[in-house]
Amino acid sequence: MALKILVTAKRVEDPESRIQVTPDGTGIVTDGVSYRLNPFDEVAIEEAVRLREKHGGEVVVASIGRENCGPEIRTALAMGADRAILVKHDSALDPVLVAAILSKIVELETPDLVLLGKQSIDDDQGQIGQYLAEILGVGQATCASRLGGLESEAEQKREPGLVLSADGRELSVLREVDGGFERLEVVLPGVVTSDLRLNKPRFVTLPGMMKAKKKPLRVMDASEFGLDLHPKVILKRYFEPKKRKAGIRVASVDELWTKLHGEEKVL
């Protein structure tokens, strides 16, 4: 049963970069910051490609924002996505607007499955998949994971973690929940968001990158969809959380005990 899968590729700050707030608190310092594909989206893209490798179909990757997210789109294509859509928008985005734009792409593309990262590591909001699912009136399974984790035999064999039913109409998803796991079946079309333990994304190869350059990229503009483009989550300011006061080194467990039992009285 061939699957048409829509995935997202968000450009985010590399977590190894130092993130600092600008003096006026309206943004973060971009000097010296490097960028990468949102790790959760990377897992979603890997999952989509594996599903296509197993069941046939097509993987379409969508990115929303400035044209500088080209590298992230190319990474997705190099990993195996078939074609890309860039929706240009130069001003602020928020989950409401992104979900609305994605719903318009879904109208255009009618995918069987929308697969996104459960959160992006810049805003850590973790809302879009669920918001989109409700707009579309479809089922959702968030925080998709893999039975047996990343050391499992199935992962070694690079099997998809999401299991398609024999009739191709439902996806069985293992979710991470507080205290354990939950298995849900989602009728397609549906929305799934990925957690980090769903799969280990493949490395991008040079041949993959070369092929990526030839894959179709459709460029659209957010203004084409007739949506209200004003964000509803409005940033007032950024600030840095209070820093912890500097700690000390202790030379022995004895000294540690004195501190914890004698001074802090936490033990």
């Binding site: 977590p15 669920q130 959702q140 009728v187 409005i234 202790v250 467990v253 936490v266």
Partner: protein, 333 residues
Amino acid sequence: MANILIVAEQQAGTLRKATLHALGAGRELAERLGGRLHVLVLGSGVDSVARELQAYADVLVADAPALEHHLAEAYAPVVADAAKLLGSNYVGAASSAFGRDLLPRVAARLTAAMASDVLAFGGDGATVTFCRPMWAGHVVAEVELATPVKVFTVRCTEFSQAPKRPAAGKLTAVEVRIDPAAMKTRFVERTEVKSSRPELSEARIVVSGGRGTRGNFEEIEALADELGAAVGASRAAADAGWVPNELKVGQTGKVVAPELYIAAGVSGAIQHLAGMRGSKVIVAINKDESAPIFHVADYGLVADLFQALPELRAKVKASRGGEPSEPKQEGRG
């Protein structure tokens, strides 16, 4: 006049403590805005949970077999309808797996903007802003939600539990009309990892292990048991399958703020720090003196955890007047 609706979380008829922290946040908003606070509990056979919640607020209860499992697709319309019925302009829940799964659907249904994992409310008077973490907590963003209804989840470690009211709140049943045949999500099964240890997000002390344990959590667990503490883990340890994923502390795992956090063999990756930097006292034990964890630790000991932890355990045991026992041979999880 504000109206605040908090969505309660229950599991198999037991109220989850996270709800009390969410109610604390709700109570704070209600007092600031001069509004009413309601709590909605959904599930099947949740009568006792509803009664327990009356101690904190007026209660709405949606009790139906179709709500037995926490399917966001089924819960969202019930929550949205209750919010509309009450005229709620603030709808919140704890930032638990349940809250994170459900509230964005509720927000979409109410055409509302949402702030996830709120640390504190800001702003003046009737204009409420939401302070929430970004970039793994390195930055706090203060945001306004420019929609008539504002949806949010709160980080439980940042809000105290709601106080009990002097008089019990009202209890109202809400009608539930769900057609199971029309649902597009189906519950198959749930596997909970049962532990006799305290829950990670509620424990006073957490002992965490990382890559340095090389998969052997015996000393971590033994110290935790001696202290009555919870066991936590870094992502490296969880991903390697050394411990169940529920023990993962970090940006994408649990966020904890215990009185004492002991990180043994944990290097201190940014994502891990995001989950524990709110702890009152942080102790780091690591063989590698350049491990980033030492930057955030109040007390750093450069040592082999396989030596240091048993030594520490012996001190704890001795201070209580006993001999330390050998680490228990525990199965994983």
